[in-house]
Amino acid sequence: MHLSKSARYVLALLTSITLLFIYVPLLVVVINSFNPSKTFSWPPSSLSTLWWSKAFHNEGVISALMTSIKAGVGASVIALLLGSGLAFAVARYEFFGKETISLLVVLPIALPGIITGIALNSAFRIILQPFGVGLGLFTVIIGHATFCIVIVYNNLLARLRRVGSTLEEASGDLGADTWQTFRYVTFPTIRSSLVAGALLAFALSFDEIVVTTFTSGAEIETLPQWIFNNLFRPNQAPIVNVVAAVLIIGFALPVWLSQRLSQGAPAGGRI
């Protein structure tokens, strides 16, 4: 389409405004984390790292961070096992109901989080509680794993479809057994997609709050839950600012790095 010069300038201007709209709020949070004042006011009167050093010694933050890491690792490990099983089955075998699997696996993430959350909550309370299993880290991991399976599944399935099965057949023809073929042929070709899937699953779990709220019970608190619970407490505001700033920078770096390494845009959290 031949766009006139003025049309191009208008598009460039609109794009710049939208980018400002995207980045200014994030920048404000980062700058504000260096605001020494206890109450929020913009612009900050001076800058200091006072609250940064306090945040790193805040017990609530550290224990919430630990809970989030445990939940993320647990959920990614389960998602890795279940998601790769599904991906191998769909990529390499024909069986009844194969088309349904792609729908079933995406359902926990396609439905709003609150649906998955209360479905699991009602199941845990009605079915698990009579057996003495209360809500806690265990149920959070189950909840997170449920919506992380699709991440590992999608990553691995794309890789398996791309490389095909000719190498594995050649390995079998040359006398390798199932285990050897997997160890020496299949695994090296899928390793990086497994790492990518696990990292994305961890990131998704680390950031999740809705399903977490409905499956965590009163005993434990993940980092997003800590932020949410302290958001409305005025005297915790400076610490919340620092945690938010750390998360903004901490999330940006790995995505930027993976982009530089893979030269392809990583898909969004729920896509």
């Binding site: 389409m1 031949h2 766009l3 191009r8 208008v10 598009l11 460039a12 609109l14 794009t15 939208t18 980018l19 709209f21 995207i22 709020p25 994030l26 404000v28 949070v29 929020f40 913009w42 279940l82 099983g85 599904l86 089955a89 075998y93 069986f95 079933l104 396609a110 439905l111 709003p112 989080g113 609150i114 649906i115 209360i118 479905a119 699991l120 909550n121 009602s122 199941a123 009605i126 449920t146 057994d177 199932t178 285990w179 950031d207 709050i209 809705v210 709220t213 997003p224 949410f228 958001l231 938010a244 998360l247 903004i248 999330f251 995505v255 982009q259 845009a265 990583p266 969004g268 959290g269």
Partner: protein
């Protein structure tokens, strides 16, 4: 180990069963089972004295939801907000996607896409919190607009809608950008050579091709907005959306059956939306 490996080699069905059993048990029993439990519990009630579940068939939850005008208003408000968010995102996404795909030189394109995708990955809660500081009475918007004599909106429905639009914007930009990139420049030049103006080319060539991409994006913006209760809690002031009804009945009220009955509304609405866009023929191009 050796004998098992040999057995696996000889039994294709055995290998398939080994791969499928655990994930299918998880998804069907744990996940679909949970959804089924939720649907069944929507027909139960809670004993008001003991707070225990009464597992007897009742339609009270549904009749309360349908007859009480409070719930009807909240449901309507949620749908309007979800639609507004979708419209805002389409309006913001179209020019930026057009600029990225058709104006920006190719060597800058990947970098620009990363700029757009990067905030998609930063924490959902932190982004919402960022808008809380923007809309705060002593916040950035109030400070920036003060010289102009404008008072920005405080926490409320408008702040909620804008924040939701902000959160889901990349989900709209990415499919539209991908759709635009697939349109070859020669097609657009042909339209121009045959005498169409830029506006006419846009209406008759670009829009029909983009339509499925916009629908794809709208599925995210619509259903994510409809299921959200956190944003409205953080920047919505006293406003309530439908997901808050579900949340409050699980949390403070402890009325699981009523929450389960209420949860059916977003499920039905999202499925209805999918059906509506499918009838328009937009999903066939996926």
């Amino acid at each position: 180990m050796k004998t098992f490996s040999v057995w696996l080699y000889q039994h294709r069905r055995g290998r398939l069963a080994l791969l499928l059993t655990a994930p299918m048990l998880w998804l069907v029993v744990a996940y679909l089972g949970s959804l089924a439990t939720m649907l069944v519990s929507a027909f139960w009630s809670v004993d008001t004295f003991t707070g225990k579940l009464v597992k007897q068939l009742t339609f009270n939850n549904f009749s309360l939801l349908f007859t009480n005008h409070v719930y009807r208003d909240i449901a309507l408000r949620s749908i309007v907000v979800a639609l507004l968010v979708t419209v805002i995102d389409v309006l913001l996404a179209l020019p930026i996607a057009l600029f990225l795909a058709k104006v920006l030189p190719i060597r800058f394109r990947n970098f620009a896409v990363v700029l757009i995708v990067l905030p998609l990955w930063s924490s959902y809660l932190v982004k919402t919190y960022a808008w809380r500081t923007m809309f705060s009475n002593s916040g950035v918007l109030a400070w920036a607009l003060k010289p102009l004599g404008i008072t920005p909106p405080s926490y409320g429905l408008l702040a909620t809608t804008l924040t939701l639009a902000y959160l889901w914007l990349p989900y709209m930009i990415l499919p539209i950008y991908a759709g635009l990139e697939r349109i070859p420049d020669s097609l657009l030049e042909a339209s121009g050579d045959l005498g169409a103006s830029a506006g006419k080319t846009y209406r008759n060539i670009v829009m029909p091709i983009l339509y499925p991409a916009v629908i794809a994006g709208s599925i995210f913006t619509f259903s994510l907005s409809l299921g959200d209760y956190i944003v409205v809690k953080i920047v919505g002031g006293k406003t309530q959306l439908f997901a808050n009804v579900i949340y409050d009945n699980i949390g403070t009220a402890g009325n699981l059956p009523f929450a389960a009955a209420a949860a059916i509304f977003p499920i039905v609405t999202v499925l209805g939306y999918l059906f509506f866009v499918r009838r328009s023929g937009a999903l066939e191009n996926f």
